[in-house]
Amino acid sequence: MEENQFLQLLDGLLELEPGTVTRDSHTEDIGWDSLAAVGFIALVDEHFEITVSPNALRNSKTVHDLIRLLGDHVITAA
């Protein structure tokens, strides 16, 4: 999926106004907690059928880190 679709998915997950999350957002600034992490893993499994490990998530500090976890599944803007 396109990067901005992915960002909107995150806005929804974290119950933020659409357009809040950007590639450079820090997870701790956008309300990321352990429940969000579990929800993210489930969402990623459903949308892309890939398994993200909770440890890899722990090491992700920015949204850009999250995008990188998904490889080709998220097409980043130029």
Partner: protein, 252 residues
């Protein structure tokens, strides 16, 4: 003399491919009962059957979300196997979703398999040629239907619904001599639900979850014993109740 003997009884078990359903099918066969294993994948059901004690067990596949055809389907199965003495609804789905991420599709699916199917299976069982008086229904509910868990609201609602359904159906079906009960398991290792938890949680988080259980996490056979108890003469005078099988989780 074994008070839990289920010889001569034919029991339909949904979700028999894995987890609690599988353990229940196996235990029923060991207690002398005959099982009609239901699920979506004939190969996996076959694998369960191989693990069972010998008997005239049958495999049927059906997508329980197709509720329109359920009564006709169950009637046709009973025409082959004879009427049922028991029904165990163990098929179920769970997804952890924070409120911000829950979708209509999640809701429909979870409610469909966990709650709607319980209702329509009961309606289907209650057809004249499909059950024998003295039959027993056991729904697999969950502790999530009794206490809250963040991110588990839809699953909890579906299982809370099952617990309430159990009570009303028990009252309504008593005159037909059908007993209706539920078991409420906690987190059980070796199930698809626990596998999903293990994928989503770190080892420390998983230990944290285990620590909430005074007796640790359960195994499928622990719940199967309770189900078998509720199916047989051991529960002759039990209906409308939910038996908690959770290692002490809800006692806190």
């Amino acid at each position: 003399m074994n008070p839990m003997d289920l010889s001569g009884r034919t029991v339909l078990v949904t979700g028999a491919s894995s987890g609690i359903g599988r353990a229940t099918a196996i235990l029923i066969s060991e207690l002398g009962g005959r099982v009609v294993l239901s699920g979506r994948d004939a190969e996996r059901l076959s694998a369960t059957r191989t693990a069972m004690a010998s008997g005239d067990h049958a495999i049927v596949t059906y997508d329980l979300t197709q509720t329109d055809g359920l009564s006709a389907w169950l009637r046709s199965v009973a025409a082959e196997t004879g009427p049922f003495d028991g029904l165990v609804h163990s098929a179920g789905v769970q997804t952890t979703r924070p409120l911000g991420a829950v979708s209509r599709a999640d809701y429909e699916r979870i409610m469909g398999v966990n709650l709607a199917a319980a209702l329509w299976l009961s309606k289907a069982l209650r057809q004249k040629s499909t059950y024998r008086p003295g039959a027993a229904i056991v729904f697999v509910a969950s502790v999530a239907g009794m206490v809250g868990q963040s991110g588990n609201h839809v699953y909890g609602a579906s299982k809370g619904g099952v617990i309430a359904l159990t009570r009303s159906l028990a009252l309504e079906l008593a005159s037909s001599k059908i007993r209706v009960n539920a078991v409420a398991p906690g987190l059980v290792r070796g199930t698809e639900i626990s596998a999903a938890f293990e994928r989503a949680l770190t080892v420390e988080q998983m230990s944290g979850v285990s620590a909430l259980y005074p007796l640790g996490l359960g195994c499928p056979r622990d719940v199967a014993y309770a189900i078998a108890f509720l199916l047989g003469d051991t529960a002759r005078w039990i209906t409308g109740s939910t038996l908690t099988v959770d290692g002490g989780y809800t006692a806190a």
